[in-house]
């Protein structure tokens, strides 16, 4: 197997609080891998270590064959990171944000590249408006567009849909599917099972600093308890009460 991301025995503590207690996983080239876990499970810590923003206490990790500790600069040339909080520059316009990243990746033709991505992510009309005026969904689309500049072979998406409305969420999902279609390896973290279900080829569940389950959705479903049918008394909602009173 050609693993684009390979993690072995990763450990990390903040002060005395252990966050990762030995994490192992592999991500195959061109696949979407979902790291599923509750808040505080350590998902962001894993991403930060892989993106060379944080040093692990123990264990090894390699991205695109480069070791994150000893070949950090080479890893950074292979990856791009979309953080949990859309890291876009609010004072700049959408176009300027894209041009900025293109220049920092030392690419030629930054402007046509920006135009192409603006069109692909349906942001052409808003291209010359300041990002501060964008909706949450537009901001996240711009954020993902910024990650695609220079076609890095590996993309990390840290909770790409947290805080988005259902429609924006669907838009982000479409963007992610397109990515994997182009052969990019995607590692995504999420706290939503349905998101992992929608997007991922492989799912790993991170709990209290360890991977407690790992496999395809079908494999994981065999581990789940069988679906149960329960009868629950349903309280009327405010809307029901309102409709009953007004008699409509």
């Amino acid at each position: 197997m050609t693993a684009t991301i390979s993690v072995r025995g990763l450990e990390k503590s903040y002060e005395d609080r252990p966050v990762l207690r030995g994490v192992d996983f592999d991500v195959a080239r061109g696949s979407i891998f979902a790291l599923l876990g509750a808040n505080g499970a350590g998902k962001t810590t894993v991403v930060k270590i892989l993106a060379t923003l944080l040093k692990a206490d123990a264990g090894t990790a390699a991205v695109d064959r480069f070791d994150v500790a000893t070949q950090a600069a080479r890893v950074r040339a292979s990856i791009s990171l979309t953080g949990q909080f859309a890291a876009v520059d609010q004072t700049l316009t959408g176009r300027e944000n894209l041009v900025l990243v293109a220049r920092l990746r030392h690419l030629k033709g930054a402007r046509p590249l920006a135009d192409e991505l603006l069109a692909r992510f349906l942001l052409t009309d808003a291209a010359d408006r300041r990002v501060a005026t964008y909706s949450g969904g537009m901001r996240r689309r711009l954020d993902i567009a910024m990650s695609l500049i220079g076609d890095p072979p590996v993309i990390f998406l840290d909770e790409p849909t947290t805080g988005l409305d259902p429609q924006s969420r669907a838009e982000v999902w479409n963007s992610v599917r397109q990515l994997a279609g182009h052969g990019t390896t995607v590692l995504l973290t999420t706290q939503y099972l349905d998101e992992a279900e929608q997007l991922a080829d492989q799912i790993a569940i991170l709990h209290q600093g360890r991977i407690i389950a790992h496999g395809t959705l079908a494999e994981l479903k065999e581990l789940f308890p069988p679906a149960k049918v329960e009868y629950v008394e349903k309280q009327p909602s405010l809307e029901d009460i309102f409709l009953a009173i007004t008699g409509s």
Binding site: L53, I79, G83, A87, D89, E96, R105
Partner: protein, 255 residues
């Protein structure tokens, strides 16, 4: 690896970015310039008449100190801007790109130098309007600018430490309050000779007095005394210490 070769290119790109932040919210530069200008007018037209400096027009005596106050009030914005970048996550995005990593900090430092220079020019223009005159040569002006840039650089690296280690935006800016106070206990407004012993001892031996005296001598076309070496030593020493501590604070952020 190639990242170091891109240092100047990356710094230029990032400097362009943060300068846009400044040109798009000019209030920063205005706020930074208005306070020292108001202070200058207050001292020239209200207190100045009662202050005996033994020189000609009081504004000629006052301007060097006002220039330093402009800088001490301006540097906190570097800390606030850096802190905002770290809060928003864009700092991490930059750090995950294949760039020369130190260019992110240098861009903030150079932005601070450029915006402080703009504020300083505004202050000098107002000073000329209220009667500041100097026969200083072009070379002397260049020396004044050089000392001011060095002072800004040193204090901005101090601001970078604050920006990197702050927990809140208010905390990021608060480090500058004691520094803003320094010119008031120096030769900036009045000769130190009138101050009581211990205060005078402090005033005579803190960096602002030597820098103020140097600039004053340059403007007055007097031969610069030893104060220029003391001033340069303070600035250079402060710059080196602040830079080293900023690097320590930076490494602590990227664990």
């Amino acid at each position: 690896m190639t990242t170091t070769t891109y240092f100047f290119e990356d710094t230029t790109v990032l400097l362009g970015r943060s300068m846009r932040h400044i040109t798009r919210s000019l209030d920063t530069i205005l706020t930074v310039s208005v306070m020292p200008i108001a202070l200058m007018l207050l001292f020239v037209y209200v207190f100045g008449g009662a202050i005996r400096t033994g020189t000609g027009h009081y504004v000629n005596y006052l301007l060097p100190g006002i220039l330093l106050i402009t800088i001490t009030m301006g540097i906190s914005y570097a800390a606030i801007r850096l802190f905002a970048d770290m809060q928003s996550g864009i700092f991490e995005r930059f750090q995950s790109l294949p760039i020369a990593r130190s260019s992110v900090l240098w861009a903030h430092v150079l932005t601070s130098v450029v915006s402080n220079l703009i504020s300083l020019v505004l202050v000098v223009l107002v000073a000329v309007a209220v009667g500041f005159r100097t026969g200083a040569s072009g070379l002397a002006w260049l020396a004044v600018a050089g000392v001011l840039v060095l002072f800004t650089l040193a204090l901005t690296w101090l601001a970078i430490i604050a920006g990197l280690s702050a927990k809140t935006a208010d905390g990021a800016g608060a480090f500058s309050y004691p520094i803003i106070f320094l010119p008031f206990v120096s030769s900036a407004f009045v000769p130190t000779g009138t101050m009581p012993g211990p205060v005078r001892a402090f005033a005579d031996h803190q960096p602002v007095t030597s820098i103020v005296n140097t600039i004053r001598e340059l403007f007055a076309r007097q031969p610069v005394s030893g104060s220029i070496w003391t001033a340069l030593a303070w600035c250079a020493g402060l710059l080196v210490v602040a830079y080293v501590l900023a690097m320590v604070a930076y490494r602590r952020r990227v664990r």
